[in-house]
Symmetry: C2
Subunit: 329 residues, 2 copies
């Protein structure tokens, strides 16, 4: 990836005021891209005006929903679409499955149909998720060939979204790439509630000097990708044509148990308390167990690897949220 | 399965005026069930009033869409739901993907959500499809553990529908069973156009003394299930509690090439003409190649096997359509 790969290029970010979208927007403004953000600003999804406050005069912002009939007018001249819009709460998907389907499956079809008819030469990078593997059945780390078996509504609808992107590549020749994300964390993340993954909530508890309640023994294994590494992956696949049509896992430098994560946070903020509680029943039913992703495919194809280790990433994240806390509570 | 298993039981059939739905309705009326049919009657999907003309005073018919807010009132007292409503044309799904998603994914969520809140003890038998396997990667016959990789929009949305049913069993304890159907054929099938599978169209061509145009060499392999065998499978899984939560392939007595099928039809009606044409490009792109299903799991679990061979089934089918042709053109 060269420094000027994005200079002057027309780039659209869906979910552009959200966590990953807004961080991508900052990286692209720095690289002198011509950036448009769209965001439906549905409450609790992650869109936050504070995320783009410092670049708002350097980007175009369109407050709209991907289901809008106006979508063709927004996408028609774009070179690249970073497609981050989504509902990411597993718990919310079980409470309101139809909304999850609307956002994660139907909206994706709208975007792809718009591109099919109004901009078939665009490149689209889609934010998929390791959730589609479900409870893993093979020895970790898990690669992209692992069987698909999502454990919740969100996983099923995200799977549809990814399959739609792959299909539009195969059948209509649209350049699509899907990145299967695992626990991403960093500045500009939604940390206000506990329904968008435990890492966001752990960060909330730490910055507020509160208590982390681990479910069960806290020995569940996960991997983590710091936002700068996530952004790096999105930018790289956007400019590498041999990524077209591919699906890639992201991952972390090494896996951690949730207890280890909590202990790192306690080292950073000794006022944090840690306790253990029984696994809540409605969460246990959709829990995926341990997960460690194999990211060797994207490393081999385009040279990506995670560079920021968890302790360093969490320190940067806490520094950001301490400075900007009022925008995130 | 005992003769009186359905006597007096409240049974709902979604897509009840369609091909499989109406044949099930006839079987259930004979077995003295208390039958309700719902059908959205969306043009070209398969709903046909002629399919239930002779039993219309013995069943309740509700012309409604599964997305209706009235659905809870229809499902709340049912013992069993045969869930046949769907959009089954692969070609149509590629022309109008959003409608396919509405019918095959969103409508299924509406039904399951209704049952979750208003009738959690109901049993649901869902009509899934072998389309979700896509181009098969293993030596035939293909069993239920084959990787999932649908080749078209219809396959992706039908997959969502099946995954939703399995999830509502696992998480909410609703008794669901999915049958992955392969080419079904028989009386009351939609044969008016060529977009609901080649076997329906071959039957149309035969009954009208026209020409079957085989794509390529006509040596593509498929299996076939006659409607009486399909109905038998639905009835059996409905009363067998060890089918709850399961997914089963159906299949045929033996596989045939499309050329063989055409030749059988020509034996039945010598006026039929057979020719070969190049594979149309838009069909080739979503074609699944050869397919033979392994139905040993449902045979082992509940004793089902296909009984009607293809020549016998096609003879019965043609006799029906010759007698009732005006209702199907």
């Amino acid at each position: 990836m060269k420094r000027n790969d994005f200079a002057g290029r027309k780039v659209l970010i869906t979910g552009g005021l959200g966590f990953i979208g807004s961080n991508l927007a900052h990286a692209l403004v720095k690289r002198k891209a011509d950036v448009t953000l769209i965001d439906s600003m549905i409450p609790d999804f992650g869109g936050n005006e504070a995320n783009v406050e410092d670049i708002k005069h350097k980007v175009r912002i369109s407050y709209t929903d991907m289901r809008s009939f106006a979508l063709p007018y927004i996408i028609k001249n774009q070179d690249i679409i970073f497609n981050l819009a989504g509902q990411i709460s597993h718990m919310d998907s079980m409470k309101d499955p139809v909304t999850d389907l609307e956002i994660n499956a139907k909206s994706q079809l709208h975007l792809l149909e718009s591109c099919r008819y109004h901009n078939p030469s665009v490149k689209i990078i889609y934010a998929s998720t390791r959730q589609i593997y479900g409870k893993t059945k093979q020895k970790p780390p898990i690669n992209e060939d692992h069987p698909i078996d999502p454990t919740d509504i969100n996983g099923i609808n995200k799977l549809s979204g990814e399959l739609f992107h792959s299909l539009y590549h195969k059948v209509f020749g649209i350049k699509t790439v899907s990145l299967r994300l695992t626990n991403c964390y960093g500045p500009r993340q939604l940390i206000r509630h506990d329904r968008q993954g435990f890492i966001a909530w752990f960060i909330n508890r730490t910055v507020l000097n509160k208590e982390i309640k681990l479910y069960g023994d806290g020995l569940q294994i996960r991997d983590f990708t710091y936002i700068d590494d996530v952004v790096d992956a999105f930018l790289r696949v956007a400019v590498e044509s041999n990524a077209d049509g591919q699906v890639y896992n992201l991952g972390g430098i090494r896996p951690y148990s949730l207890l280890e994560v909590a202990k790192i946070l306690k080292r950073i903020n000794p006022k944090l308390k840690i306790s253990k509680i029984p696994f809540p029943r409605e969460r246990k039913k959709i829990d995926i167990g341990n997960y460690v992703g194999d990211w060797s495919k994207i490393h081999k194809d385009i040279g990506w690897k995670p560079k920021i280790d968890l302790e360093m990433g969490l320190k940067k994240t806490l520094t950001y949220f301490r400075k900007n806390l009022s925008n995130y509570l």
